[in-house]
């Protein structure tokens, strides 16, 4: 055995699982905040959002370990989180029917659980109207707006949605025009 071979054997290459774990944690560092905001803006309460975030990155780890498609991992994570939230809601609906008013009260988009001074009644009403106006948008426009509210830049939104940035510009501009009308 040569000296080089000896050195190569001494430094054990990382396993696929270790590499996947490191990469999943890097993505977590980058996407945790926007993903969580996205889920909150989409109507999840904090506990559901946190669970969806954990689950999304666990699935990302499995995806990376199995050497899944890496062409749009940012979009992949948002898609997984969105689907998780949808499935959880379906499951919750099966378990319990929640009166609409109660559901709105718990809706994270409109409530400040700590009742901070910045959260005035006027602000709350404005946010409620904004949230309801967003719910009336078409799926693509709504997705654009929620991703923007999550803090992503428009080019990142284009990447997540798998469309070009000029299409995002057009979608957002139309969505903003509709929201302006709704909120006027």
């Amino acid at each position: 055995m040569t000296a080089d071979e000896g050195t190569a054997n001494a430094v054990r290459p990382a396993t696929a699982a270790e590499l996947a774990r490191e990469e999943a944690l890097r993505w977590f560092d980058e996407l945790c905040d926007p993903l969580r905001r996205y889920l909150l803006c989409a109507g999840a309460n904090a506990a559901d959002a946190d669970e969806a975030v954990q689950e999304s990155f666990l699935r990302l780890y499995q995806h990376l370990e199995k050497r899944g498609d890496r062409s749009n991992l940012r979009g992949w994570v948002f898609q997984v989180a969105r689907n998780y939230l949808r499935d959880e809601r379906k499951s919750a609906r099966h378990q319990k029917t929640v009166p609409l008013d109660d559901a709105m009260e718990r809706d994270g988009r409109f409530a400040d659980p700590r009742g901070s001074p910045e959260h005035s009644a006027l602000g709350e009403e404005r946010l409620r109207r904004l949230g309801m106006a967003i719910d009336k948008l078409g799926p693509q426009q709504r997705e654009c707006i929620l991703l923007r509210a999550s803090g992503l830049r428009y080019r990142e939104i284009a990447e997540v949605m798998g469309i070009n940035i000029s299409s995002v510009g057009t979608l957002v501009q139309r969505a903003v025009a509709r929201l302006s009308e709704e909120l006027a």
């Binding site: 999943a24 994270g108 910045e118 940035i165």
Partner: protein
Amino acid sequence: MSEIVNLECARAQGLLASYVDGDMGKDDSAWLSGHLTDCAKCREALSAFSALDSELTGWGRKLSRWNPPPVDARERLAGTLRERATRRRAIRWIPAAAAAIAAGLGILAIAPRPSPPAQTHEQTGFVEIPYLAPLDPHENATVVRIQIRVATLISVGYRVTADPDAIVPADVLVGEDGRAHAVRVAADVGLDGTGD
């Protein structure tokens, strides 16, 4: 003319998103600045866009502030990933261990059992005591030389042609349990172990 204006306005309004992010190329940026100077409608659109855009991003920030993430979210994820990796390693070992055990059992099943030791010289000529389980060929037996009355041999089930009152020398094969299993006597004693 108005169609050209509409097309230019459509292009301008499609660029507003990149504009507010400062993500525009030089050419697009110069063109949009020129268009905004000339087009009040697009200036108004930009103003509405920027205002609502700020409101949207502010909304997300506020929700995040009002519902802060758990401080240990990253550690929780890292811990779960570690657990999964450990479990996966363990699971990976299960088929290997099962295969090893199965192979071991297979080897045991097909491996030839050690053949019974060849009969020693001392064992030759032993007649098993009737109605007793025979001695295991692998058992370490001991041969004990005694003087025995023929009647005693008859009483344990042998058929003997010699005089029952005679006392003859006999080799007794004693097993590991301390019990006699077979007897060897001189041929003229006429010992037969087939019983009655």
